[in-house]
Amino acid sequence: TESPGSSSDEDSGDGDESIKIGMSISTLNNPFFVSLRDGAEAAAEEAGYEITTADAQDDSASQVSDIEDLLQQDIDVLLVNPTDSSAISSAIESANSADIPVITVDRTADEGEVATHIASDNVEGGEMAGEFIAEQLEEEGDVVELEGISGASATRERGEGFHNIVDEMDGIEVVAQQSADFDRSNGLNVMENILQSNSEIDAVFAHNDEMALGAIEAIESNDLADEVVVVGFDATDDARDAVSEGRMDATVAQQPELIGEEAITTAAQVVDGEEVEEFVPVELELITE
Protein backbone atom coordinates (compact mmCIF):
# COMPACT_ATOMS: atom_id res chain seq x y z
CA THR A 1 0.00 0.00 0.00
CA GLU A 2 0.98 3.53 -0.73
CA SER A 3 1.47 5.58 2.38
CA PRO A 4 0.82 9.30 2.38
CA GLY A 5 3.99 9.90 4.34
CA SER A 6 6.19 8.02 1.93
CA SER A 7 7.77 10.99 0.23
CA SER A 8 9.94 13.23 2.34
CA ASP A 9 10.51 15.91 -0.24
CA GLU A 10 7.10 17.53 0.04
CA ASP A 11 8.29 20.46 2.12
CA SER A 12 11.42 20.90 0.10
CA GLY A 13 10.17 23.99 -1.67
CA ASP A 14 12.16 26.29 0.56
CA GLY A 15 15.83 25.68 0.80
CA ASP A 16 15.65 26.63 4.44
CA GLU A 17 15.35 22.96 5.28
CA SER A 18 12.32 23.29 7.48
CA ILE A 19 11.77 19.69 8.49
CA LYS A 20 8.85 18.07 10.20
CA ILE A 21 9.64 15.84 13.13
CA GLY A 22 7.35 13.37 14.85
CA MET A 23 8.21 12.43 18.40
CA SER A 24 6.60 9.66 20.43
CA ILE A 25 7.28 9.81 24.14
CA SER A 26 6.65 6.93 26.51
CA THR A 27 5.08 9.05 29.23
CA LEU A 28 4.91 12.65 30.28
CA ASN A 29 3.65 11.69 33.71
CA ASN A 30 7.29 11.66 34.70
CA PRO A 31 9.46 14.77 34.99
CA PHE A 32 12.34 12.99 33.30
CA PHE A 33 10.54 12.73 30.01
CA VAL A 34 9.05 16.16 30.38
CA SER A 35 12.61 17.47 30.44
CA LEU A 36 13.53 15.32 27.50
CA ARG A 37 10.62 16.65 25.53
CA ASP A 38 11.37 20.22 26.55
CA GLY A 39 14.96 19.84 25.41
CA ALA A 40 13.85 18.50 22.08
CA GLU A 41 11.12 21.06 21.53
CA ALA A 42 13.38 23.95 22.46
CA ALA A 43 16.05 22.75 20.08
CA ALA A 44 13.52 22.25 17.30
CA GLU A 45 12.09 25.70 17.78
CA GLU A 46 15.48 27.25 17.69
CA ALA A 47 16.27 25.51 14.42
CA GLY A 48 12.84 26.36 13.02
CA TYR A 49 11.67 22.79 12.69
CA GLU A 50 8.11 21.68 13.10
CA ILE A 51 7.65 19.06 15.81
CA THR A 52 4.63 16.96 16.78
CA THR A 53 4.72 15.13 20.09
CA ALA A 54 2.60 12.22 21.27
CA ASP A 55 2.42 10.83 24.80
CA ALA A 56 1.76 7.12 25.16
CA GLN A 57 1.14 7.27 28.90
CA ASP A 58 3.36 4.26 29.40
CA ASP A 59 1.18 1.97 27.34
CA SER A 60 2.86 0.04 24.54
CA ALA A 61 -0.29 -0.32 22.52
CA SER A 62 -1.03 3.40 22.69
CA GLN A 63 2.46 4.06 21.56
CA VAL A 64 2.03 1.96 18.48
CA SER A 65 -1.16 3.88 17.76
CA ASP A 66 0.57 7.18 18.39
CA ILE A 67 3.25 6.31 15.90
CA GLU A 68 0.71 5.23 13.34
CA ASP A 69 -1.02 8.55 13.83
CA LEU A 70 2.26 10.41 13.44
CA LEU A 71 3.01 8.53 10.27
CA GLN A 72 -0.22 9.89 8.79
CA GLN A 73 1.15 13.40 9.01
CA ASP A 74 3.91 13.74 6.43
CA ILE A 75 6.72 13.72 8.92
CA ASP A 76 10.30 13.55 7.72
CA VAL A 77 11.76 11.75 10.66
CA LEU A 78 10.46 9.90 13.68
CA LEU A 79 11.91 10.12 17.17
CA VAL A 80 10.80 7.29 19.40
CA ASN A 81 11.26 6.97 23.10
CA PRO A 82 9.92 3.43 23.50
CA THR A 83 7.81 2.43 26.44
CA ASP A 84 9.44 -0.89 25.99
CA SER A 85 12.26 -2.03 23.76
CA SER A 86 10.64 -5.25 22.72
CA ALA A 87 7.16 -3.89 22.18
CA ILE A 88 8.14 -1.12 19.83
CA SER A 89 9.41 -3.21 16.94
CA SER A 90 6.28 -3.36 14.86
CA ALA A 91 5.83 0.41 15.04
CA ILE A 92 9.41 0.86 13.92
CA GLU A 93 8.74 -1.55 11.10
CA SER A 94 5.71 0.44 9.96
CA ALA A 95 7.88 3.54 9.86
CA ASN A 96 10.47 1.61 7.90
CA SER A 97 7.92 0.53 5.36
CA ALA A 98 6.73 4.12 5.06
CA ASP A 99 10.36 5.10 4.43
CA ILE A 100 10.47 7.42 7.40
CA PRO A 101 13.82 7.28 9.20
CA VAL A 102 13.59 6.36 12.88
CA ILE A 103 15.73 7.47 15.77
CA THR A 104 15.28 5.84 19.14
CA VAL A 105 15.73 7.90 22.24
CA ASP A 106 16.56 6.79 25.80
CA ARG A 107 15.52 3.22 25.22
CA THR A 108 16.41 0.98 22.30
CA ALA A 109 14.23 -0.99 19.94
CA ASP A 110 14.85 -4.71 19.72
CA GLU A 111 13.92 -5.01 16.07
CA GLY A 112 13.36 -2.85 13.03
CA GLU A 113 15.71 -0.57 11.23
CA VAL A 114 16.87 2.37 13.24
CA ALA A 115 19.04 5.21 11.95
CA THR A 116 20.61 5.80 15.27
CA HIS A 117 20.05 5.51 19.00
CA ILE A 118 20.53 8.37 21.38
CA ALA A 119 20.67 7.49 25.03
CA SER A 120 22.48 6.74 28.11
CA ASP A 121 22.52 3.18 29.20
CA ASN A 122 20.29 2.18 32.11
CA VAL A 123 22.27 -0.94 32.93
CA GLU A 124 25.41 1.09 33.06
CA GLY A 125 23.67 3.62 35.28
CA GLY A 126 22.68 0.86 37.66
CA GLU A 127 26.28 -0.28 37.72
CA MET A 128 27.47 3.24 38.47
CA ALA A 129 25.09 3.42 41.41
CA GLY A 130 26.25 0.03 42.63
CA GLU A 131 29.89 0.99 42.39
CA PHE A 132 29.33 4.27 44.19
CA ILE A 133 27.55 2.52 47.05
CA ALA A 134 30.19 -0.19 47.26
CA GLU A 135 32.83 2.45 47.46
CA GLN A 136 31.04 4.45 50.14
CA LEU A 137 30.42 1.35 52.26
CA GLU A 138 33.85 -0.02 51.63
CA GLU A 139 32.23 -3.13 50.25
CA GLU A 140 30.48 -3.96 53.45
CA GLY A 141 26.95 -3.27 54.60
CA ASP A 142 23.21 -3.74 54.31
CA VAL A 143 21.57 -2.22 51.29
CA VAL A 144 17.97 -1.53 50.33
CA GLU A 145 16.82 -1.48 46.73
CA LEU A 146 13.69 0.49 45.91
CA GLU A 147 12.42 -0.85 42.62
CA GLY A 148 10.40 0.92 39.99
CA ILE A 149 7.08 -0.27 38.55
CA SER A 150 7.21 -4.03 38.33
CA GLY A 151 7.81 -5.08 34.79
CA ALA A 152 8.93 -1.70 33.47
CA SER A 153 12.16 -1.72 31.46
CA ALA A 154 13.85 0.95 33.59
CA THR A 155 13.18 -1.19 36.65
CA ARG A 156 14.65 -4.22 35.02
CA GLU A 157 17.74 -2.62 33.56
CA ARG A 158 18.73 -0.48 36.52
CA GLY A 159 18.19 -3.42 38.83
CA GLU A 160 20.28 -5.60 36.57
CA GLY A 161 23.17 -3.13 36.54
CA PHE A 162 23.00 -2.63 40.27
CA HIS A 163 23.05 -6.34 40.97
CA ASN A 164 25.88 -6.85 38.51
CA ILE A 165 28.00 -4.98 41.01
CA VAL A 166 26.66 -5.66 44.47
CA ASP A 167 26.00 -9.36 43.99
CA GLU A 168 29.70 -9.81 43.35
CA MET A 169 30.60 -8.47 46.75
CA ASP A 170 30.36 -10.77 49.69
CA GLY A 171 30.21 -7.96 52.19
CA ILE A 172 27.19 -6.28 50.71
CA GLU A 173 23.78 -7.71 51.31
CA VAL A 174 20.58 -6.48 49.74
CA VAL A 175 18.38 -6.85 52.82
CA ALA A 176 15.21 -5.49 51.29
CA GLN A 177 14.10 -5.25 47.71
CA GLN A 178 10.66 -3.68 47.34
CA SER A 179 8.72 -1.87 44.66
CA ALA A 180 7.69 1.72 45.21
CA ASP A 181 6.38 2.22 41.69
CA PHE A 182 8.68 5.12 40.76
CA ASP A 183 6.49 7.21 43.06
CA ARG A 184 7.62 9.58 45.78
CA SER A 185 4.93 8.87 48.33
CA ASN A 186 5.29 5.14 47.86
CA GLY A 187 9.02 5.60 48.30
CA LEU A 188 8.31 7.22 51.63
CA ASN A 189 5.89 4.57 52.86
CA VAL A 190 7.90 1.59 51.70
CA MET A 191 11.10 3.00 53.17
CA GLU A 192 9.38 3.69 56.48
CA ASN A 193 8.17 0.14 56.61
CA ILE A 194 11.56 -1.26 55.72
CA LEU A 195 13.15 0.80 58.44
CA GLN A 196 10.85 -0.81 60.98
CA SER A 197 12.42 -4.19 60.46
CA ASN A 198 15.91 -3.14 59.32
CA SER A 199 17.21 -0.36 61.49
CA GLU A 200 20.82 -0.99 60.50
CA ILE A 201 20.57 0.07 56.89
CA ASP A 202 23.72 1.46 55.31
CA ALA A 203 22.58 2.46 51.86
CA VAL A 204 19.58 2.78 49.60
CA PHE A 205 19.52 2.56 45.84
CA ALA A 206 16.29 3.83 44.33
CA HIS A 207 15.53 3.21 40.66
CA ASN A 208 14.61 6.85 40.31
CA ASP A 209 14.91 10.13 42.15
CA GLU A 210 11.26 10.36 43.05
CA MET A 211 11.50 7.25 45.19
CA ALA A 212 14.87 8.33 46.52
CA LEU A 213 13.43 11.63 47.66
CA GLY A 214 10.57 9.84 49.37
CA ALA A 215 13.02 7.49 51.05
CA ILE A 216 15.04 10.46 52.27
CA GLU A 217 11.97 11.86 54.02
CA ALA A 218 11.58 8.54 55.81
CA ILE A 219 15.24 8.36 56.70
CA GLU A 220 15.34 11.89 57.99
CA SER A 221 12.30 11.49 60.15
CA ASN A 222 13.97 8.45 61.69
CA ASP A 223 17.10 10.54 62.37
CA LEU A 224 19.21 8.26 60.23
CA ALA A 225 20.28 10.87 57.71
CA ASP A 226 23.93 10.62 58.63
CA GLU A 227 24.06 6.87 58.58
CA VAL A 228 22.44 6.00 55.28
CA VAL A 229 23.82 6.58 51.81
CA VAL A 230 21.05 7.33 49.31
CA VAL A 231 21.50 7.09 45.59
CA GLY A 232 18.84 7.99 43.08
CA PHE A 233 18.62 8.00 39.33
CA ASP A 234 17.75 10.73 36.80
CA ALA A 235 19.21 13.86 38.42
CA THR A 236 15.95 15.74 38.36
CA ASP A 237 16.04 19.32 39.60
CA ASP A 238 14.77 18.23 43.00
CA ALA A 239 17.39 15.55 43.24
CA ARG A 240 20.23 17.86 42.26
CA ASP A 241 19.10 20.26 44.97
CA ALA A 242 18.98 17.43 47.47
CA VAL A 243 22.50 16.37 46.51
CA SER A 244 23.87 19.86 46.83
CA GLU A 245 22.16 20.24 50.20
CA GLY A 246 23.80 17.01 51.25
CA ARG A 247 20.53 15.21 51.80
CA MET A 248 21.11 12.81 48.95
CA ASP A 249 24.47 11.29 48.31
CA ALA A 250 24.37 10.80 44.61
CA THR A 251 22.14 10.52 41.58
CA VAL A 252 22.85 9.09 38.20
CA ALA A 253 22.35 11.87 35.67
CA GLN A 254 20.99 10.99 32.30
CA GLN A 255 20.74 14.62 31.24
CA PRO A 256 17.36 14.36 29.59
CA GLU A 257 17.41 17.87 28.07
CA LEU A 258 20.65 17.01 26.42
CA ILE A 259 19.22 13.77 25.08
CA GLY A 260 16.36 15.80 23.63
CA GLU A 261 18.63 18.37 22.03
CA GLU A 262 20.94 15.74 20.68
CA ALA A 263 17.99 13.95 19.17
CA ILE A 264 16.96 17.02 17.18
CA THR A 265 20.43 17.71 15.89
CA THR A 266 20.87 14.14 14.85
CA ALA A 267 17.43 14.07 13.28
CA ALA A 268 18.33 17.00 11.05
CA GLN A 269 21.48 15.22 9.99
CA VAL A 270 19.57 12.09 9.17
CA VAL A 271 17.05 13.98 7.07
CA ASP A 272 19.88 15.66 5.23
CA GLY A 273 21.28 12.28 4.42
CA GLU A 274 24.42 12.78 6.47
CA GLU A 275 26.18 9.80 7.95
CA VAL A 276 25.50 9.37 11.65
CA GLU A 277 26.91 7.02 14.23
CA GLU A 278 24.86 4.00 15.10
CA PHE A 279 24.80 5.01 18.73
CA VAL A 280 25.04 8.54 20.02
CA PRO A 281 25.83 8.13 23.65
CA VAL A 282 24.81 10.81 26.05
CA GLU A 283 27.19 10.54 28.89
CA LEU A 284 25.93 9.33 32.20
CA GLU A 285 27.20 11.31 35.03
CA LEU A 286 27.22 10.56 38.71
CA ILE A 287 26.20 13.73 40.50
CA THR A 288 27.64 13.73 43.96
CA GLU A 289 27.67 17.37 44.86
Partner: protein, 311 residues
Protein backbone atom coordinates in the same frame (compact mmCIF):
# COMPACT_ATOMS: atom_id res chain seq x y z
CA UNK B 1 -43.86 -0.42 14.23
CA UNK B 2 -43.82 3.30 14.77
CA UNK B 3 -42.67 2.69 18.28
CA UNK B 4 -39.76 0.72 16.95
CA UNK B 5 -38.46 3.47 14.76
CA UNK B 6 -38.68 5.96 17.58
CA UNK B 7 -36.92 3.49 19.76
CA UNK B 8 -34.09 3.13 17.31
CA UNK B 9 -33.95 6.88 16.88
CA UNK B 10 -33.46 7.41 20.57
CA UNK B 11 -30.53 5.04 20.32
CA UNK B 12 -28.97 7.27 17.73
CA UNK B 13 -27.60 9.63 20.39
CA UNK B 14 -24.10 8.14 20.49
CA UNK B 15 -23.95 7.84 16.72
CA UNK B 16 -24.75 11.52 16.33
CA UNK B 17 -22.00 12.32 18.82
CA UNK B 18 -19.56 10.26 16.78
CA UNK B 19 -20.57 11.93 13.54
CA UNK B 20 -20.12 15.40 15.03
CA UNK B 21 -16.63 14.55 16.27
CA UNK B 22 -15.72 13.03 12.93
CA UNK B 23 -16.93 16.09 11.03
CA UNK B 24 -15.01 18.46 13.27
CA UNK B 25 -11.87 16.39 12.85
CA UNK B 26 -12.37 16.15 9.11
CA UNK B 27 -12.38 19.92 8.90
CA UNK B 28 -9.45 20.54 11.21
CA UNK B 29 -7.07 17.83 10.10
CA UNK B 30 -6.10 17.03 6.52
CA UNK B 31 -4.90 13.58 7.34
CA UNK B 32 -8.03 12.41 9.10
CA UNK B 33 -10.08 11.37 6.11
CA UNK B 34 -7.49 9.28 4.32
CA UNK B 35 -8.17 5.60 3.76
CA UNK B 36 -4.94 4.85 5.45
CA UNK B 37 -5.84 6.74 8.56
CA UNK B 38 -9.25 5.15 8.73
CA UNK B 39 -7.86 1.64 8.53
CA UNK B 40 -5.23 2.64 11.02
CA UNK B 41 -7.89 3.96 13.36
CA UNK B 42 -10.02 0.84 13.05
CA UNK B 43 -7.04 -1.32 13.85
CA UNK B 44 -6.33 0.82 16.88
CA UNK B 45 -9.80 0.48 18.29
CA UNK B 46 -10.05 -3.25 17.71
CA UNK B 47 -8.35 -4.02 21.01
CA UNK B 48 -10.57 -1.82 23.11
CA UNK B 49 -13.64 -2.86 21.13
CA UNK B 50 -13.07 -6.57 21.74
CA UNK B 51 -12.76 -6.02 25.47
CA UNK B 52 -15.70 -3.64 25.46
CA UNK B 53 -17.89 -6.21 23.69
CA UNK B 54 -17.37 -8.55 26.61
CA UNK B 55 -17.82 -5.71 29.05
CA UNK B 56 -21.19 -5.00 27.42
CA UNK B 57 -22.40 -8.46 28.37
CA UNK B 58 -21.08 -8.03 31.89
CA UNK B 59 -22.68 -4.63 32.33
CA UNK B 60 -25.96 -5.85 30.84
CA UNK B 61 -26.16 -8.35 33.69
CA UNK B 62 -25.63 -5.47 36.09
CA UNK B 63 -22.00 -6.33 36.79
CA UNK B 64 -18.63 -4.80 36.05
CA UNK B 65 -15.20 -6.26 35.31
CA UNK B 66 -12.12 -4.35 36.38
CA UNK B 67 -9.80 -7.27 35.78
CA UNK B 68 -9.88 -7.30 31.97
CA UNK B 69 -6.50 -5.59 31.65
CA UNK B 70 -4.81 -8.06 33.96
CA UNK B 71 -6.46 -11.00 32.23
CA UNK B 72 -5.19 -9.61 28.94
CA UNK B 73 -1.68 -9.42 30.36
CA UNK B 74 -1.70 -12.91 31.80
CA UNK B 75 -3.20 -14.46 28.69
CA UNK B 76 -0.70 -12.66 26.48
CA UNK B 77 2.23 -13.68 28.61
CA UNK B 78 1.08 -17.28 28.70
CA UNK B 79 0.57 -17.45 24.96
CA UNK B 80 3.90 -15.73 24.31
CA UNK B 81 5.65 -18.05 26.73
CA UNK B 82 4.32 -21.09 24.92
CA UNK B 83 5.17 -19.62 21.54
CA UNK B 84 8.70 -18.80 22.50
CA UNK B 85 9.19 -22.32 23.76
CA UNK B 86 8.28 -23.48 20.28
CA UNK B 87 4.69 -24.61 20.65
CA UNK B 88 2.45 -24.66 17.60
CA UNK B 89 1.06 -21.13 17.31
CA UNK B 90 -2.57 -22.13 16.92
CA UNK B 91 -2.35 -24.43 19.91
CA UNK B 92 -0.72 -21.69 21.96
CA UNK B 93 -3.45 -19.25 20.99
CA UNK B 94 -6.09 -21.80 21.84
CA UNK B 95 -4.61 -22.44 25.28
CA UNK B 96 -4.27 -18.71 25.87
CA UNK B 97 -7.93 -18.15 25.06
CA UNK B 98 -8.88 -21.02 27.31
CA UNK B 99 -6.90 -19.45 30.14
CA UNK B 100 -8.85 -16.23 29.57
CA UNK B 101 -12.07 -18.17 29.76
CA UNK B 102 -11.00 -19.75 33.03
CA UNK B 103 -9.89 -16.48 34.61
CA UNK B 104 -13.24 -15.01 33.65
CA UNK B 105 -15.01 -18.04 35.07
CA UNK B 106 -13.09 -17.50 38.29
CA UNK B 107 -14.46 -13.96 38.43
CA UNK B 108 -17.92 -15.28 37.81
CA UNK B 109 -17.62 -17.91 40.51
CA UNK B 110 -16.37 -15.44 43.11
CA UNK B 111 -19.25 -13.12 42.28
CA UNK B 112 -22.01 -15.71 42.23
CA UNK B 113 -20.91 -18.38 44.66
CA UNK B 114 -18.86 -16.12 46.90
CA UNK B 115 -21.56 -13.45 46.73
CA UNK B 116 -18.99 -10.68 46.36
CA UNK B 117 -19.98 -7.47 44.58
CA UNK B 118 -18.54 -7.52 41.03
CA UNK B 119 -16.67 -4.28 41.60
CA UNK B 120 -14.76 -5.56 44.56
CA UNK B 121 -14.35 -9.10 43.26
CA UNK B 122 -12.76 -7.99 40.02
CA UNK B 123 -10.76 -5.30 41.79
CA UNK B 124 -9.17 -8.09 43.80
CA UNK B 125 -8.63 -10.37 40.82
CA UNK B 126 -7.20 -7.45 38.88
CA UNK B 127 -4.42 -7.33 41.44
CA UNK B 128 -4.10 -11.09 41.64
CA UNK B 129 -3.89 -11.71 37.89
CA UNK B 130 -1.40 -8.84 37.52
CA UNK B 131 0.73 -10.36 40.25
CA UNK B 132 0.49 -13.74 38.58
CA UNK B 133 1.63 -12.19 35.30
CA UNK B 134 4.62 -10.62 36.99
CA UNK B 135 5.51 -13.88 38.66
CA UNK B 136 5.17 -15.80 35.41
CA UNK B 137 7.19 -13.33 33.37
CA UNK B 138 9.56 -12.44 36.20
CA UNK B 139 8.73 -8.88 35.34
CA UNK B 140 10.26 -9.08 31.89
CA UNK B 141 8.64 -8.88 28.50
CA UNK B 142 8.53 -12.14 26.64
CA UNK B 143 10.14 -11.89 23.22
CA UNK B 144 11.53 -14.21 20.62
CA UNK B 145 8.07 -15.36 19.61
CA UNK B 146 7.55 -17.69 16.75
CA UNK B 147 8.05 -16.44 13.23
CA UNK B 148 5.00 -18.39 12.23
CA UNK B 149 3.13 -16.63 9.50
CA UNK B 150 -0.20 -17.35 11.10
CA UNK B 151 0.73 -15.76 14.41
CA UNK B 152 2.13 -12.67 12.74
CA UNK B 153 -1.03 -12.48 10.70
CA UNK B 154 -3.22 -12.05 13.79
CA UNK B 155 -1.92 -8.63 14.60
CA UNK B 156 -0.19 -7.48 11.47
CA UNK B 157 -1.89 -9.16 8.54
CA UNK B 158 -4.33 -7.82 5.98
CA UNK B 159 -7.16 -9.51 4.14
CA UNK B 160 -8.35 -7.71 1.02
CA UNK B 161 -6.56 -4.64 2.32
CA UNK B 162 -8.33 -4.73 5.66
CA UNK B 163 -6.21 -5.20 8.76
CA UNK B 164 -6.74 -8.61 10.29
CA UNK B 165 -7.50 -7.28 13.81
CA UNK B 166 -10.35 -5.30 12.25
CA UNK B 167 -11.68 -8.46 10.69
CA UNK B 168 -11.47 -10.26 14.01
CA UNK B 169 -13.31 -7.40 15.65
CA UNK B 170 -16.06 -7.50 13.03
CA UNK B 171 -16.46 -11.24 13.30
CA UNK B 172 -16.67 -11.02 17.08
CA UNK B 173 -19.18 -8.22 16.73
CA UNK B 174 -21.34 -10.23 14.36
CA UNK B 175 -21.33 -13.36 16.50
CA UNK B 176 -21.97 -11.52 19.75
CA UNK B 177 -24.63 -9.35 18.17
CA UNK B 178 -26.45 -12.44 17.04
CA UNK B 179 -26.07 -14.13 20.43
CA UNK B 180 -27.44 -11.11 22.23
CA UNK B 181 -30.43 -10.67 19.98
CA UNK B 182 -31.36 -14.05 18.74
CA UNK B 183 -30.50 -16.65 21.31
CA UNK B 184 -31.92 -17.81 24.58
CA UNK B 185 -28.64 -16.95 26.27
CA UNK B 186 -28.82 -13.36 25.05
CA UNK B 187 -32.32 -13.05 26.35
CA UNK B 188 -31.18 -14.35 29.71
CA UNK B 189 -28.39 -11.78 29.87
CA UNK B 190 -30.93 -8.99 29.53
CA UNK B 191 -33.38 -10.48 31.96
CA UNK B 192 -30.84 -11.23 34.68
CA UNK B 193 -29.70 -7.63 34.48
CA UNK B 194 -33.24 -6.32 34.35
CA UNK B 195 -34.55 -8.17 37.37
CA UNK B 196 -32.46 -10.97 38.77
CA UNK B 197 -35.01 -12.16 41.26
CA UNK B 198 -37.77 -12.41 38.68
CA UNK B 199 -35.43 -14.21 36.32
CA UNK B 200 -34.61 -16.79 38.93
CA UNK B 201 -38.28 -17.31 39.68
CA UNK B 202 -38.80 -17.87 35.97
CA UNK B 203 -36.33 -20.69 36.10
CA UNK B 204 -33.31 -18.88 34.71
CA UNK B 205 -30.08 -19.95 36.34
CA UNK B 206 -28.79 -16.46 36.88
CA UNK B 207 -25.52 -17.67 38.37
CA UNK B 208 -24.69 -19.67 35.28
CA UNK B 209 -25.53 -16.77 33.03
CA UNK B 210 -23.19 -14.54 34.98
CA UNK B 211 -20.37 -17.03 35.07
CA UNK B 212 -20.62 -17.34 31.30
CA UNK B 213 -20.67 -13.63 30.81
CA UNK B 214 -17.46 -13.13 32.75
CA UNK B 215 -15.90 -16.11 31.00
CA UNK B 216 -16.67 -14.67 27.59
CA UNK B 217 -15.18 -11.36 28.67
CA UNK B 218 -12.06 -13.11 29.90
CA UNK B 219 -11.67 -14.86 26.59
CA UNK B 220 -12.21 -11.71 24.56
CA UNK B 221 -9.67 -9.90 26.71
CA UNK B 222 -7.09 -12.52 25.93
CA UNK B 223 -8.00 -12.36 22.24
CA UNK B 224 -7.30 -8.63 22.41
CA UNK B 225 -4.07 -9.45 24.21
CA UNK B 226 -3.01 -11.88 21.52
CA UNK B 227 -3.58 -9.27 18.82
CA UNK B 228 -1.48 -6.89 20.88
CA UNK B 229 1.24 -9.48 21.35
CA UNK B 230 1.34 -10.20 17.67
CA UNK B 231 1.48 -6.51 16.80
CA UNK B 232 4.18 -5.80 19.37
CA UNK B 233 6.02 -9.02 18.74
CA UNK B 234 6.29 -9.44 22.47
CA UNK B 235 4.16 -9.74 25.59
CA UNK B 236 4.52 -7.05 28.23
CA UNK B 237 3.97 -7.79 31.90
CA UNK B 238 2.37 -4.37 32.31
CA UNK B 239 0.15 -4.68 29.25
CA UNK B 240 -3.47 -3.71 29.61
CA UNK B 241 -3.08 -1.47 32.63
CA UNK B 242 -6.18 0.76 32.90
CA UNK B 243 -7.82 -0.84 29.87
CA UNK B 244 -10.92 -1.50 31.96
CA UNK B 245 -11.65 2.21 32.05
CA UNK B 246 -11.63 2.65 28.28
CA UNK B 247 -13.77 -0.44 27.86
CA UNK B 248 -16.33 0.72 30.41
CA UNK B 249 -16.34 4.18 28.87
CA UNK B 250 -17.04 2.67 25.44
CA UNK B 251 -19.95 0.65 26.78
CA UNK B 252 -21.52 3.58 28.62
CA UNK B 253 -20.92 6.02 25.77
CA UNK B 254 -22.76 3.54 23.61
CA UNK B 255 -25.83 3.94 25.75
CA UNK B 256 -25.75 0.77 27.83
CA UNK B 257 -26.99 1.39 31.34
CA UNK B 258 -24.60 0.66 34.20
CA UNK B 259 -27.50 -0.68 36.24
CA UNK B 260 -27.99 -3.51 33.77
CA UNK B 261 -30.77 -4.82 31.62
CA UNK B 262 -30.62 -2.16 28.95
CA UNK B 263 -28.14 -1.66 26.16
CA UNK B 264 -26.89 -2.85 22.82
CA UNK B 265 -23.68 -3.99 21.24
CA UNK B 266 -23.77 -1.58 18.31
CA UNK B 267 -23.65 1.26 20.82
CA UNK B 268 -20.48 -0.18 22.28
CA UNK B 269 -18.87 -0.30 18.86
CA UNK B 270 -19.81 3.35 18.40
CA UNK B 271 -18.50 4.14 21.87
CA UNK B 272 -15.18 2.49 21.08
CA UNK B 273 -15.07 4.46 17.83
CA UNK B 274 -15.68 7.74 19.69
CA UNK B 275 -12.80 7.05 22.03
CA UNK B 276 -10.53 5.87 19.22
CA UNK B 277 -11.38 8.80 16.98
CA UNK B 278 -10.74 11.21 19.83
CA UNK B 279 -7.34 9.70 20.57
CA UNK B 280 -6.43 9.63 16.91
CA UNK B 281 -7.76 13.12 16.19
CA UNK B 282 -6.11 14.76 19.16
CA UNK B 283 -2.85 13.24 18.04
CA UNK B 284 -3.34 14.42 14.48
CA UNK B 285 -4.10 17.90 15.76
CA UNK B 286 -1.00 17.76 17.92
CA UNK B 287 -2.92 18.71 21.04
CA UNK B 288 -0.55 18.64 24.00
CA UNK B 289 -1.02 15.46 25.95
CA UNK B 290 -1.94 17.30 29.12
CA UNK B 291 -4.78 19.06 27.36
CA UNK B 292 -5.72 15.82 25.63
CA UNK B 293 -6.81 14.39 28.94
CA UNK B 294 -8.99 17.39 29.65
CA UNK B 295 -10.54 17.31 26.20
CA UNK B 296 -11.11 13.58 26.28
CA UNK B 297 -12.79 13.69 29.69
CA UNK B 298 -14.87 16.66 28.63
CA UNK B 299 -16.06 15.07 25.41
CA UNK B 300 -17.02 11.85 27.15
CA UNK B 301 -19.01 13.81 29.69
CA UNK B 302 -20.67 15.86 27.02
CA UNK B 303 -21.60 12.83 24.97
CA UNK B 304 -23.16 11.13 27.98
CA UNK B 305 -25.05 14.22 29.09
CA UNK B 306 -26.38 14.85 25.59
CA UNK B 307 -27.43 11.25 25.33
CA UNK B 308 -29.30 11.46 28.65
CA UNK B 309 -30.98 14.65 27.52
CA UNK B 310 -32.16 13.20 24.24
CA UNK B 311 -34.06 10.53 26.15
Amino acid sequence: MKKKIVNNLSQLGPLIGLIIIVIILGFTSDSFFTLNNILNLLRQISINALIAFGMTFVILTGGIDLSVGSILAFGSALTAGMLSSGMDPMLAVFIGLLAGLLMGAMNGLIITKGKVAPFIATLATMTIFRGATLVYTEGRPITGLSDSFSFEMIGKGYVFGIPFPVILMLIAFGVLFFILRNTVFGRQVYSVGGNEEASILSGIRADRVKIWVYSITGMLSVLAGIILTSRLNSAQPTAGTMYELDAIAAVVLGGTSLTGGRGWLTGTLIGALIIGVLDNGLNLLNVSSFYQQIVKGGVILLAVVLDRRSK
